[in-house]
């Protein structure tokens, strides 16, 4: 090991012409994910006769919609080179605040407002520590993870909050067909509020990341924060906004999850930070920052939802599923690295 890393790199290969857009699409991570999703979908429908039932599939979406909402914001944050491990703890705190407010007799709109504000406040706290004081986000959010869930634990102890107003249940359990303007096409009656929220947030975050200047800033910061700063990009402010967004989306997820469960304990959403990060990384987001896409994360969310739901139909216990998720995370990251290394060894 006397040679330096730089010397081992092969000479740069410059192709005669760029690959066609269609060729690039075929070879992309997103295409691979879509193929995996279709394969799992087929395997599931063959493995269990109950899988293809529309209501079953509608229920299956709850496996990923809430986590995906966090994963979208987490994607932006990871691309910018930061990470937020406190998202699940923010859900716990926001849910606890909503539970306390419900006990005090607040109605649904106020509860939603409280949930979202707590999310925003927590995000602002993380953002302040990382962007203003320049602290490493991994350690900061490990700390706030303890702090936020710890506060929920102080408030709740071993008790649980329940008794949410009945209209509050709609966010996590409601169907869009409750609205008179929803089209009465067969099949559309199984569409839940969370599915629509998932699609809307996917579009919003997709546009924000891929079609706006702010989105370009995120990539620039993730690739080279110094160069970004020299280019006049407000690096710290952008990071602060990204933490705010992640906090807000955790608040949204808290509203949906609390509404779906109908109760709050301090262990609510334990381990979700890992699943949100796995989702983003599976979606092709580089954990080192600088690359990734929202379509990839959408597909990854669907793949993870299908895997867990399919395994659930086969009566596989949850902890075995988590082995699959863990393996998936490692394989998905290792595969491109190994493939690239094999390719660079055999000259084309």
């Amino acid at each position: 090991m006397s040679t330096l890393a730089a010397e081992k790199r092969p000479p740069r290969h410059i192709p005669d012409k760029l690959s066609t857009p269609a060729g690039r699409l075929l070879g992309s991570w997103e295409t691979l994910l879509a193929a995996v999703a279709i394969a799992i979908f087929t395997a599931n429908s063959l493995a269990s006769p109950h899988f293809l039932d529309p209501w079953n599939l509608s229920d299956a979406t709850y496996n990923f919609t809430e986590k995906a909402m966090i994963a979208f914001a987490m994607t932006l944050l990871i691309i910018s080179g930061e990470i937020d491990l406190s998202v699940a703890a923010i859900i716990a705190l926001a849910s606890t605040a909503m539970g306390a407010a419900a006990q005090a007799g607040f109605q649904t709109p106020a509860l939603v407002g409280i949930g979202l504000s707590v999310g925003l406040l927590c995000g602002a706290f993380n953002g302040l520590l990382v962007a203003r004081f320049g602290l490493p986000s991994i350690v900061v959010t490990i700390g706030t993870m303890s702090l936020f869930r710890g506060i929920a634990q102080i408030v709740l102890g071993d008790q649980a909050y329940g008794g949410y107003p009945s209209s509050f249940a709609w966010f996590g359990q409601g169907y869009m067909s409750d609205f008179p303007w929803w089209p009465t096409i067969p099949g559309f009656e199984v569409v839940t509020f969370e599915m629509v929220a998932f699609v809307v947030f996917a579009l919003l975050f997709g546009i924000l990341l891929h079609r706006t200047t702010f989105g370009r800033w995120i990539y620039a910061i993730g690739n080279n924060a110094f160069a970004a700063q020299f280019s006049g990009i407000p690096v710290q402010r952008t990071k602060f906004i990204l933490f705010l967004l992640t906090g807000l989306m955790s608040g949204v997820a808290a509203v949906c999850l609390t509404s779906r469960l109908g109760s709050t304990r301090h262990t609510i959403a334990v381990g979700w930070e890992l699943e949100a990060i796995t989702m983003a990384v599976l979606g092709g987001v580089s954990i080192l920052g600088g690359s990734g896409s929202i379509p990839g994360v959408v597909l990854a969310a669907i793949v993870m939802g299908l895997v867990t739901f399919g395994l659930g139909l086969l009566n596989v216990p949850g902890i075995i599923m988590s082995i699959f998720i863990g393996l998936l995370l490692i394989v998905v990251i290792a595969l491109p690295i190994v493939v690239r290394r094999i390719r660079s060894r055999t000259p084309a």
């Binding site: 090991m1 006397s2 330096l4 890393a5 990470i83 520590l129 203003r132 004081f133 320049g134 602290l135 490493p136 991994i138 350690v139 900061v140 490990i142 700390g143 706030t144 993870m145 303890s146 702090l147 936020f148 869930r149 710890g150 506060i151 634990q153 102080i154 709740l156 102890g157 110094f226 700063q229 020299f230 690096v235 710290q236 301090h266 890992l274 990060i277 796995t278 990384v281 954990i287 080192l288 216990p317 902890i319 075995i320 988590s322 082995i323 998720i325 863990g326 393996l327 995370l329 490692i330 990251i333 290792a334 690295i337 190994v338």
Partner: protein
């Protein structure tokens, strides 16, 4: 640099002593030798794990799988003990160290040879190892009645007023202190994390150093697997859930930089003891144990703020300093007062 580190350890020591003194005014007997020995004994496992975590942190990595490793290894040795009571204890401890080191080596291999970022690799193995504990046990518990007396009682045997568990921690501290400061491997740990490029030029194999750091962390987690199971006299899948964060917290409080290369054994031990003192004091001063989590969170954040102040004393690029000048100004008065 060493002066700053000494200052940090001294500060932590003083804070620990002040805390103990403050708590003993509320609860006489808290500062008695017996109670202090009890606190140390209670914190032993955290100390050992924190030292393993420190080795990994020094190389600019992080090991989030320590608690899952502990759970799997603890379950494995407990099941071995209940199925084959004739296996002698030293062999079981060797097995715990070996299994733990093996699991750590898997982490290290992924970081060294495949090049997966440590946080992702260990995030993955965190769920896998705990899942494996479930597969191994089928979700069943190993209870006190199924374990042999030697297995359960050896770590509790008091020697000079301190149980063997506490002495194990002291032994590990001594070995780690020598390894980190007096061996080539120890210096490589600091070099690999402090400046990987310079370490490479100096002939340090950074990847291999990380591998052995993960193996060390794994072996200590394995040892703690046995210690945990015998201390609490039960093995089940969820033991020590979330404990990996406590080990990171202990290190961060002890002044070990998560950016690698900075930190001392004394710091890690005092950081762990700080958490241990608070944990043991809460019931004594009649605060609900539910406060524990929020307090450690707050302490981590404060410790990171203090650590960052320390890091900033090194040379920095002008532009980044300009961008952070406001936060530096916030920190400066405190710094002046302390100096």
């Amino acid at each position: 640099m060493s002066r700053i580190l000494k200052y940090r350890e001294l500060l932590l020591l003083v804070i620990n002593l002040v805390l103990i003194a403050a708590f003993s005014t509320r609860a006489p007997g808290f500062a008695s030798p017996k109670s202090l020995a009890n606190i140390f004994n209670d914190t032993s496992i955290l100390i050992i794990l924190a030292l393993g975590q420190m080795a990994v942190l020094l190389t600019r990595s992080i090991d989030l799988s320590v608690a899952a490793n502990l759970s799997f290894t603890g379950m494995a040795v407990a099941m071995l003990n209940s199925a084959h009571p004739e296996v002698p204890l030293p062999l079981l401890i060797a097995a715990a160290l070996g299994i733990g080191a093996g699991l750590g080596a898997i982490n290290g291999f992924m970081v060294w040879k495949i090049g997966i970022p440590a946080i992702v690799a260990t995030l993955g193995t965190l769920t896998i190892y705990r899942g494996m504990a479930f597969v191994l046990s089928g979700g069943a518990w190993v209870n006190q009645t199924q374990m042999t007396q030697a297995f359960l009682n050896t770590p509790r045997m008091p020697v000079l007023g301190l149980p063997l568990l506490g002495w194990t921690a002291i032994l590990v501290i001594a070995i780690i202190a020598i390894v980190f400061t007096r061996t080539i491997f120890g210096r490589s740990l600091y070099a690999a994390g402090g400046n990987p490029t310079a370490a490479l030029y100096a002939g340090v194999d950074v990847g291999r150093t990380k591998f052995f750091a993960f193996m060390l962390s794994g072996a200590l987690s394995g040892l703690c697997g046995y210690l945990w199971v015998s201390r609490y006299a039960v093995a089940y899948v969820d033991i020590a859930a979330g404990f990996e964060l406590d080990t990171v917290a202990a290190c961060v409080i002890g002044g070990i930089s998560t950016l690698g290369g900075i930190g001392s054994v004394g710091g890690a031990v005092l950081g762990a003891l700080f958490l241990g003192v608070i944990k043991n004091a809460l019931p004594v001063i009649e605060i609900s144990p539910f406060w524990q989590m929020a307090i450690s969170g707050l302490v981590i954040i404060i410790a990171v703020l203090l650590n960052a102040r320390q890091d900033r004393r090194k040379g920095r690029l002008i532009l980044r300093d300009a961008a952070k000048s406001r936060s530096v100004r916030v920190a400066t008065p405190v710094e002046g007062a302390a100096a």
